[in-house]
């Protein structure tokens, strides 16, 4: 392979730079010698330019200082976008700070040392952990260490609402939450703490108090919601109580709900009562809840022989069959001793304290049937007793829980006074056994 002259020249220059004799190089490349020789001599001429006269150390230091000064001036920070900062810098040029020596060159800092990064990390840690704690606390039960956090969060929620109706709704929700907690505790086999019951009662009381302060449209809405919720809670506790009724906490909870229902009955105005409820409902309208009159032997329902009362606390009196269609079973005024055992507004709120209707003799209600519920308010009876007119009660058909009754337009219905009840009626033996 034949090399080009440029390559030969490059090799010859390298050998010359290495100190090799030019004559030897030319001998090695004899065919290029005539052309190489003047070029190698020219390179030798250039060697005369290699010596360098260096400036003195003082001159070098002066040059360096001048360069650094020019650099600081050139790489100075630009004019700020903020007018105040621009003004501050401009004033600082004319009135420099006396105790402010020349700023040293700032050291480059890694990102994790910057103040913003640290602040972000702290905020993320605080709020991230707080959010996680709040989430966990929201699912906690009274026996949990985070339960106070849950209660504090609920208090905080109440601070964010200002209207009485909104506060009342929150209290109702919190009361429902307490019931849920009681149910979960019972499901876990843990005893229900009285503190939870007290909290639930406090929420219910506050909700009703606030509902009274609310204007009319909101007031009715809150009361209706409360009514539905109380019924639901009572059902839930009743279902739960089937197996664990020995738990005093659950019993206390039911009592608290009954007291709330009683108080709500006093608070709820007629206008707040649901208008959808018919005041005169035939048994056909609610066949599921009402025992067929034709099937009620001896004045009682097939489910309640001899007493025939409604055992479902939520059963409404308008579901009772027409007494005129009832065969036998008592007179017009609670025949057969059947009838309401608790003529008060909240008579049925204590089902567990009532004797089993099936055990009632005479196909009626309670023998000597007095008012069993000490919390019953007799004065409220006439106003809240709706369609459950004693005269319409079939023989032996006593209601054990007419709590849902008050909503059924009492103004249009004749409400008998308890004292007017015959002895053979719903309250044989008359009067309340533990009247107030």
């Amino acid at each position: 392979m034949t090399m080009s002259f440029s390559d030969v020249l490059d090799i010859a220059l390298a050998r010359k730079a290495a100190g090799e004799d030019v004559a030897i190089i030319l001998t090695d490349y004899a065919e290029f010698a005539a052309e190489l020789q003047p070029l190698l001599e020219t390179v030798s001429v250039l060697d005369g330019l290699k010596p360098v006269a260096m400036p003195s150390a003082a001159e070098l230091a002066t040059d360096r200082a001048a360069f650094l000064q020019a650099m600081e001036k050139s790489v100075a920070p630009g004019v700020s976008f903020l007018p105040l900062e621009r003004l501050t810098r401009w004033i600082g040029q004319y009135f420099p700070k006396k105790n402010n020596p020349q700023q040293p060159v700032k050291k480059e800092r890694p990102m994790f040392q910057s103040l913003i990064f640290k602040a972000s990390l702290i905020l993320m840690t605080v709020f991230g952990s707080a959010g996680g704690t709040a989430l966990v606390a929201a699912q906690s039960l009274p026996d949990s260490a985070l339960y106070p956090v849950k209660l504090a969060m609920e208090d905080a929620q109440l601070q964010f609402v200002d209207t009485p109706s909104a506060k009342a709704m929150l209290h109702l929700n919190f009361a429902q939450e307490r019931v849920q907690e009681m149910m979960e505790l019972a499901a876990n086999g843990a005893p229900v703490d009285e503190t939870v019951v007290d909290l639930m009662q406090q929420h219910l009381n506050l909700a009703l108090q606030l509902a009274e302060q609310a204007p009319e449209p909101q007031r009715s809405g809150v009361l209706l919601h409360a009514q539905e919720m109380l019924q639901q809670q009572q059902q839930q506790l009743g279902q739960l109580g089937d197996g664990t009724m020995s738990d005093s906490g659950l019993m206390s909870a039911e009592m608290a709900i009954e007291r709330a229902q009683e108080r709500m009955g006093n608070v709820m105005p007629p206008s707040a009562m649901p208008t959808t409820m018919p005041t005169n409902v035939s048994p056909i309208a609610t066949p599921m809840m009402t025992p067929d009159p034709t099937e009620m032997p001896g004045g009682g329902g097939n489910e309640h022989p001899g007493g025939g009362g409604m055992q479902n606390p939520t059963a409404m009196p308008m579901m009772t069959p027409d007494p005129t269609e009832m065969p036998g079973g008592g007179g017009s005024e609670h025949p057969g001793g059947g009838g309401m055992q608790d003529p008060t507004a909240m008579p049925t709120s204590m089902p567990t304290m009532m004797p089993d209707p099936t055990e009632m003799p005479g196909g009626g209600g309670m023998p000597g049937g007095g008012m069993q519920n000490p919390t019953a308010v007799p004065t409220s009876v006439p106003t809240v007793m709706p369609t459950s007119e004693p005269t319409e009660m079939p023989g032996g058909g006593g209601m054990q829980n007419p709590t849902a009754v008050p909503t059924s337009a009492p103004t249009t219905m004749p409400t008998p006074h308890p004292t007017e009840m015959p002895g053979g009626g719903g309250h044989p033996g008359g009067g309340m056994s533990n009247g107030q």
Partner: protein
């Protein structure tokens, strides 16, 4: 290389490359004060490039390239300020009594180099005055090594031709 160099980094570059760049420029201009001024110009241009955030891939190559351009510009300006025919300088060297005879010879060579093309001047300065390799020269000139070999051939031939012509004219 990042365009946004810190002041500390620029200072480090100055301390590293100031003397090599000064030597490179001095061998072209042959005067201490001029070499100092031109070297200062080179580093002033570096600071300006940083301030404008111009891309600088290789600091060493950028500095040599800027130094070479600065020297070329210097000789262009000198050409119109104090035009002195090289023949006159060759005549001056004939005076055996001149104490600066050798220095004048070097000046003749420097003036002869200025007659070459910028690329030829660059390859002469970098390879034969500064002693850089073909690869280093190729990187600074942003050319392949084969092109540098061809360029050094043409540069040496042109310089030899100009020197011969100057010598013949002087004689």
């Amino acid at each position: 290389m990042q365009a946004s160099l810190s002041a500390k980094k620029i200072t480090e570059i100055y301390d590293t490359y100031h003397q090599p760049i000064y030597r490179f420029i001095y061998r072209r201009v042959g005067d201490v004060d001029t070499a100092r001024d031109l070297t200062a110009d080179v580093f002033r241009k570096l600071v300006e490039a940083v301030r404008k955030a111009l891309p600088i891939e290789n600091v060493s190559a950028w500095l040599y390239r800027t130094a070479h351009n600065t020297v070329v510009d210097f000789y262009r300006r000198q050409k119109f300020r104090r035009h002195m025919p090289i023949e006159d300088k060759m005549m001056a060297t004939q005076n055996p009594m001149d104490a600066a005879e050798r220095r004048m010879d070097a000046e003749i060579v420097r003036q002869t180099i200025t007659k070459l093309t910028p690329d030829q001047q660059a390859v002469i300065s970098l390879k034969f005055l500064q002693g850089l390799s073909n690869a280093e020269t190729a990187e600074i000139l942003d050319k392949p090594v084969t092109a540098v070999k061809s360029l050094q051939h043409r540069a040496l031939a042109a310089l030899q031709r100009h020197l011969t012509r100057a010598t013949e004219g002087a004689s």
